[in-house]
C-alpha cells in the first residue's frame, strides 16, 4: 500500500481544530507527549510499515514530492 497523498478527510478544518483544542492548556512536555501518542496510535492503526516509512520520509523532507508540476490544485 502507498501513503495517500490526496486530501482524504471530509472536514480537515474540524480535525485541525480538534488537534489545536487538544493541545490547548498543555505544558510543553505534555503537548509533546500528546503528539507522540497520536503518532503511535495512528501508526499502529495503519500497521503497514511501507506506508509509515513513506510518511516518515515525507515528514523529514527527505523525499522530493512526487508532484513535480506547479503546485496548484
Amino acid at each position: 500500500m502507498k501513503l495517500r497523498r490526496d486530501p482524504n478527510l471530509s472536514d480537515p478544518d474540524a480535525l485541525y481544530a480538534a488537534l489545536m483544542e487538544a493541545h490547548r492548556g498543555l505544558d510543553e512536555a505534555a503537548s509533546r507527549r500528546l503528539d507522540a501518542k497520536l503518532v503511535l496510535l495512528l501508526a499502529n492503526h495503519i500497521g503497514d510499515e511501507a506506508v509509515l516509512k513513506e510518511a516518515l520520509d515525507l515528514a523529514r523532507g527527505t523525499v522530493p514530492g512526487q508532484d513535480a508540476a506547479p503546485a496548484t490544485d
Binding site: R5, P12, D13, A17, L58
Partner: protein, 530 residues
C-alpha cells in the same frame, strides 16, 4: 487617477422637533446591511425609515470582498450589474510561506454562473448604489444625521429617541431592524450581552494607491521576508487601489502603527524600492468573534455586525450581514402583508444563528491558523505550510481564511420534505445556471422574482395559490426555461418530473419527486410558519 470624493447627504430635519412620529419599519444604521435591508423591503413593497448618524458613506475598503451569494442578492435587488462593472473579479488565491509560494487555489473552477466567486470593491461604492436604488424606490425614508440615543422596546414595537442637528424627536416603530454595527447603540440600549473569544493580535489595513501589475488574485503571505513572523494579505480593488492587511502581533502600539511614515515603510518593504504609491486609508484594528444569544428580541431584530462579529479572515462580516437581510426581509414583508404569522420571524434566529456560528467558527479557526499561539499551534501551522507545496493532502489544512460560502440552512424549521435527495437539499441557496429564455441566453436566478416559486423539470404543475411556477425543459418549449447546458438540472439535482419549492430568498425549501400539489402546498404553508 484622482482620489474618489464621497458624497455628502443632507442632514434630516425633523418636521416637529421634540415630537413623535410613527413608522412601520425603522432601520437603524445606513451601512451596507441596513441599506440592503431597506432596499430588500422596498423591493417587496414595504416602506421603511432608515436612520444614520452620519451624513456620508463609510471610508476605506472595509468589507472589500463581495461573495457570489451577495452578488446574487444584489442581482435580485437590481444592482448586481454595477458590482460586476466596477468590481475587480478574482477567483484565484495564492498562499506564500516565507520566501516561496506554497500553493494556489481556484475558488470557483466551474463556469456557468452569472456572478464570479468574488469581486473586490470598496464598501462605499456598494453603499452608494444601494442609496441610489433606495432613493429611486420611493419607499425608503433615508434620514442622515440622525442619531438614535434611546430605545424603549414595547410589545407592539419600539420607541426610538432620535437626535438631529435640528433637535430630537421620538420615532415609534412597529419593527426595528438594528443594523448599527459592532458598537450597536440599539444593542447597548437593550443591554444585551455580546460575548465570545478575544484575539489579541493587532492588524493594520493600508489602502494603497499605485500602478502595479499584480494580477487580480488574493495573495496571502505567512511569515514573508518583508514582514517576518507575521502574515500579510494583498487584494486588488478598483481605481488602482490595493488593500494590504499586515498582522502586527500582540505588542504593537496602535497609535505608532497608524503613523503614515511607519505605514509607508511597511508598504515599501513589501513592494520593494522604487515603487511609487500613496496611502489612501489606514486603520489599525483588533477583533473578536462573538454574537448575541438571540437576534430577535420581540419587535427588535439585529442584523450584521450588530448581531455578530467575526474576524476579517474569510470575508464573512459584510457577506454574512447581507445574508441576514436577505433572510429577514421577505419574512418581515409577508408578516406585514398578513400572509404569515409573526412567529415566522422566529425562524430568523433558527436560520441565521447557525449561520453566524458557522462564520464565527470558520473565522476563529482561520485566526488560530494565521496567528498561532503556543508551540504546538505554530508547529502544526508551519508543518502544514511546509508540506503544502509538494503534497496536495496538506493544502486543505492551510487556512488563510475560509472564504464566505452561503449558509446551508439545514435544520431550519421552515424546511419541507426532501423526497428526492440529490444535490441542493432543502436549506440550500439555489445555485445559478445558464438557461435560454425564448431562445435568448439568460440566468436561472434572474427568473425567480421576489416571491415563492415552484421550479419543475420536465413537468407542468397545476396552478397553485400563492405560487409561481417555473418550468425547466431539456428542449425549447414556449413559456419554459430551456436548460440547454443541463447545468440547472445537474446543480439542482432535479430528475425529470421532479420539482423544488424555492423561497423568496432563493433558498430551496423542499424537494418533490412529483408535482402532486398537496405536499407542495403543505410545504409552502410550513415555509410561512402557517
Amino acid at each position: 487617477m484622482s482620489a474618489w470624493v464621497p458624497p455628502r447627504y443632507a442632514h434630516h430635519v425633523p418636521p416637529r422637533p421634540g415630537g413623535v412620529e410613527q413608522a412601520r419599519v425603522a432601520i437603524v444604521g445606513g451601512g451596507l446591511v441596513g441599506l440592503t435591508a431597506a432596499l430588500d423591503l422596498a423591493r417587496r413593497g414595504i416602506a421603511s425609515v432608515l436612520l444614520d448618524e452620519d451624513d456620508t458613506l463609510s471610508t476605506g475598503s472595509r468589507a472589500i470582498c463581495f461573495s457570489q451569494r451577495t452578488l446574487e442578492i444584489m442581482g435580485r435587488l437590481g444592482i448586481g450589474q454595477r458590482f460586476l462593472d466596477k468590481g475587480i473579479t478574482w477567483n484565484r488565491g495564492r498562499v506564500f510561506f516565507r520566501d516561496r509560494e506554497a500553493y494556489s487555489f481556484d475558488l470557483l473552477p466551474e463556469s456557468g454562473h452569472e456572478y464570479p466567486a468574488f469581486v473586490n470593491l470598496q464598501q462605499y461604492y456598494a453603499e452608494q448604489w444601494l442609496i441610489e436604488a433606495c432613493e429611486a424606490s420611493g419607499l425608503v425614508d433615508l434620514r442622515w444625521g440622525s442619531r438614535v440615543t434611546g430605545v424603549v422596546p414595547r410589545a407592539d414595537g419600539a420607541a426610538l429617541e432620535v437626535e438631529t442637528r435640528s433637535g430630537p424627536y421620538r420615532l415609534d416603530a412597529e419593527w426595528v431592524l438594528a443594523c448599527d454595527g459592532v458598537h450597536s447603540k440599539v444593542r447597548r440600549a437593550l443591554d444585551l450581552p455580546f460575548t465570545g473569544q478575544v484575539f489579541d493580535d493587532r492588524f493594520l489595513i493600508a489602502d494603497v494607491r499605485m500602478q502595479a501589475d499584480f494580477p487580480s488574485e488574493r495573495w496571502f503571505w505567512f511569515d514573508p521576508p518583508f514582514h517576518p513572523g507575521q502574515s500579510v494579505l494583498l487584494h486588488k480593488q478598483p481605481d488602482d487601489l490595493w488593500r494590504i492587511d499586515f498582522q502586527l502581533g500582540r505588542d504593537a502600539d496602535p497609535e505608532a502603527e497608524r503613523e503614515p511614515e511607519r505605514v509607508r515603510a511597511r508598504v515599501a518593504a513589501m513592494l520593494g524600492e522604487g515603487v511609487a504609491f500613496d496611502l489612501d486609508w489606514v486603520s489599525v484594528y483588533t477583533f473578536r468573534c462573538r454574537r448575541l444569544e438571540r437576534f430577535r428580541h420581540g419587535r427588535v431584530l439585529f442584523l450584521g455586525d450588530a448581531a455578530h462579529q467575526v474576524s476579517p479572515f474569510g470575508a464573512r462580516g459584510g457577506n454574512g450581514g447581507v445574508q441576514d437581510a436577505d433572510n429577514l426581509c421577505w419574512k418581515l414583508a409577508i408578516v406585514l402583508q398578513g400572509e404569515a404569522p409573526e412567529r415566522l420571524l422566529d425562524s430568523y434566529d433558527a436560520e441565521r444563528i447557525p449561520a453566524a456560528d458557522e462564520n464565527i467558527r470558520h473565522s476563529s479557526r482561520a485566526t488560530d491558523f494565521i496567528t498561532p499561539k503556543g508551540s504546538a499551534c505554530r508547529a502544526y501551522r508551519d508543518a502544514v505550510l511546509e508540506l503544502a507545496r509538494d503534497l496536495p493532502l496538506a493544502r486543505p489544512f492551510v487556512n488563510s481564511g475560509r472564504l464566505s460560502q452561503p449558509a446551508v440552512l439545514r435544520d431550519s424549521p421552515l424546511n419541507g420534505p426532501d423526497e428526492a435527495p440529490r444535490a441542493a437539499p432543502p436549506g440550500t441557496a439555489c445555485p445559478d445556471a445558464p438557461i435560454l429564455r425564448d431562445g435568448q441566453p439568460d440566468w436561472l436566478l434572474r427568473q425567480f422574482g421576489q416571491g415563492f416559486l415552484l421550479l419543475a423539470r420536465e413537468a407542468h404543475p397545476v396552478k397553485m395559490e400563492g405560487l409561481r411556477t417555473v418550468e425547466l425543459r431539456d428542449s425549447p418549449r414556449p413559456g419554459a426555461l430551456h436548460d440547454h447546458s443541463g447545468l440547472a438540472a445537474a446543480r439542482l439535482g432535479l430528475a425529470p418530473g421532479e420539482c423544488a419549492l424555492v423561497r423568496p430568498d432563493q433558498h430551496i425549501a423542499a424537494r418533490f419527486a412529483t408535482t402532486a400539489p398537496d405536499p407542495i402546498l403543505a410545504a409552502l404553508r410550513r415555509a410561512r410558519s402557517l
